[in-house]
């Protein structure tokens, strides 16, 4: 199969900045929401996932996008609400790779506008869980390949349960059941996030990845726990996902994406 495995950075946007995340509950600022997207063009990414995890999904922007909120001079930090469509337009204007945007999408019109204004795919999570028909509606209008259903889960005793509302609400539904149903409803891909492994830098939850992979025919993207190339190699060899993703680790060193990609290719893994 010549289709390559994708190595996908996830950018988490929260209240004005890109952040790193720990167990979906503690966040550290990284920086300007736009600058990073521009630099990624030089790094030959396979794909980019951009998730808005702000409270109430409100998007803030500063007057002059050159100055981030945190490092700005006081007078420039006037948090101004901007609408998600303009935000996506701005993001995608310098983004020459497949771009997925997600966060609070809960109606067809917003989905349509986001896809029209620069995103190639949308990621839907809590709303899709509460209204399963939304998945099929989106698939019918935009094609399954544009719809990623994102699933966050936690391990309780020996089972994995789906959490919604930014990891705050336990739905008591087992992750494999929901993943299979999302596929039935028309999802094009599943983005699987382990809340326990988020930011822990101790490797992926292999058992979780294997379990979900078994029940799916559509592509699976696994996320949560990567600390280095070893972790990516291990999860690929043990659970065979279509793509691997990470949020935090691409923020620590200069050129980290290219360095990790090079290493993975050196280990003869199927990356471009």
């Amino acid at each position: 199969m010549s289709l390559k495995i994708r190595l996908i950075p996830v950018l988490l946007y929260k209240d004005g900045f890109i952040v790193k995340s720990q167990k979906f509950n503690f966040y550290q600022t990284v920086g300007n929401p736009f600058e990073q997207v521009q630099r990624y063009n030089k790094w030959n990414l396979d794909e980019l996932i951009y998730l808005n995890i702000s409270n109430n999904k409100i998007i803030f922007s500063t007057d002059n996008n050159k100055i981030t909120g945190s490092t700005s001079s006081g007078k420039k930090y006037i948090p101004k609400k901007i609408d998600v469509i303009n935000f996506v337009k701005k993001l995608s204007s310098k983004c020459f790779m497949p771009l997925t945007y997600g966060g609070g999408i809960n109606n067809i019109n917003t989905a349509r506008q986001i896809l029209k204004n620069g995103a190639d795919k949308i990621s839907i999570n809590s709303y899709a869980f509460k209204n399963k028909k939304f998945i099929s509606e989106c698939a019918r209008y935009f094609g399954s390949q544009s719809i990623i259903v994102s699933i966050d889960c936690k391990k309780i005793n020996k089972d994995y349960y789906v959490y919604i509302n930014d990891g705050k609400t336990n739905t008591n539904v087992k992750v494999c059941d929901w993943a299979a149903e999302a596929e039935r409803m028309g999802a094009g891909e599943i983005l699987l996030n382990s809340i326990d492994k988020d930011g822990a830098m101790s490797g992926f939850d292999i058992r979780l990845c294997q379990m979900v992979r078994k029940v799916l025919k559509i592509p699976l993207i696994v996320c949560g726990g990567a600390a280095n190339s070893d972790d990516f190699e291990y999860v690929i060899k043990k659970s065979n996902p279509h793509s691997v993703a990470a949020a935090n680790i691409f923020q620590f060193k200069e050129n980290s994406y290219q360095v990790i990609k090079k290493e993975l290719k050196k280990r003869k893994l199927n990356f471009r």
């Binding site: 020459f96 790779m97 497949p98 094009g188």
Partner: protein, 207 residues
């Protein structure tokens, strides 16, 4: 002085292509009307959606005659992307039979599902035998990957004297790029293919 015309029809992902052309700092124009093509030296036709919808729409907006005049008669450079590439051929088989521009003989049909592949063909795949195609000359053999997103394709057949093909494998061989004199077409999305995509569009605009 070259002017790159980007056809803006209802079913194009014009925005993405526009972003990249804008980044390249060339003179460009968004062509909403068929008359706009007359000023342009190069024409780009982006396309997503279906063969059928694209042809219907181009016809409705009177683009087809204008394209014949500008590309076939006046020999201006043309680049079709994805569905914009598929309609270069004789006909398409999505939702019944639809006539294409018929500038190159061939049929646009669905991937053979017996080959146990997941559709659509979505992701990074390799182009092969591409060096002869002018706009792909600069692609390096260390990275021959482009981003694809489609369920329909043109089955591979051999080069002829005035037509050159590059192909890609996904269960079977299909045509991923074509050059016929001043006409170019690519099945992949250069506007999503990072450095390689930038290189292809740059090369096209420099023709």
């Amino acid at each position: 002085m070259s002017l790159i015309g980007i056809i803006d029809h209802k079913f194009g992902n014009t925005k993405s292509v526009l972003n990249l052309i804008n980044y390249l700092n060339v003179n460009y124009k968004l062509c909403k009307s068929y008359k706009d093509l007359n000023d342009c030296s190069h024409i780009i036709l982006p396309g997503i959606g279906s063969f059928n919808e694209t042809m219907t729409n181009l016809d409705k907006l009177h683009f087809i005659d204008s394209l014949e005049q500008n590309v076939i008669e006046k020999k201006k450079f043309f680049l079709g992307i994805c569905v914009g590439f598929q309609i270069l051929f004789s006909k398409g088989l999505e939702f019944g039979e639809t006539k294409g521009l018929n500038w190159i003989e061939g049929i646009c049909e669905k991937f053979n599902s017996k080959k146990k592949i997941i559709l659509p063909h979505c992701g990074w795949n390799k182009i092969i035998s591409y060096k002869k195609i002018e706009i792909l000359k600069n692609i390096s053999s260390t990275d021959e990957y482009f981003y694809f997103l489609h369920s329909y394709m043109i089955k591979f057949f051999d080069d002829s004297t005035d037509i050159k093909f590059a192909y890609t494998k996904y269960g079977q061989k299909f045509i991923s790029a074509v050059e016929k004199n001043n006409i170019f077409g690519v099945q992949f999305h250069p506007e999503k293919s990072q450095q390689n995509g930038i290189s292809v569009l740059k090369a096209f605009c420099s023709l």
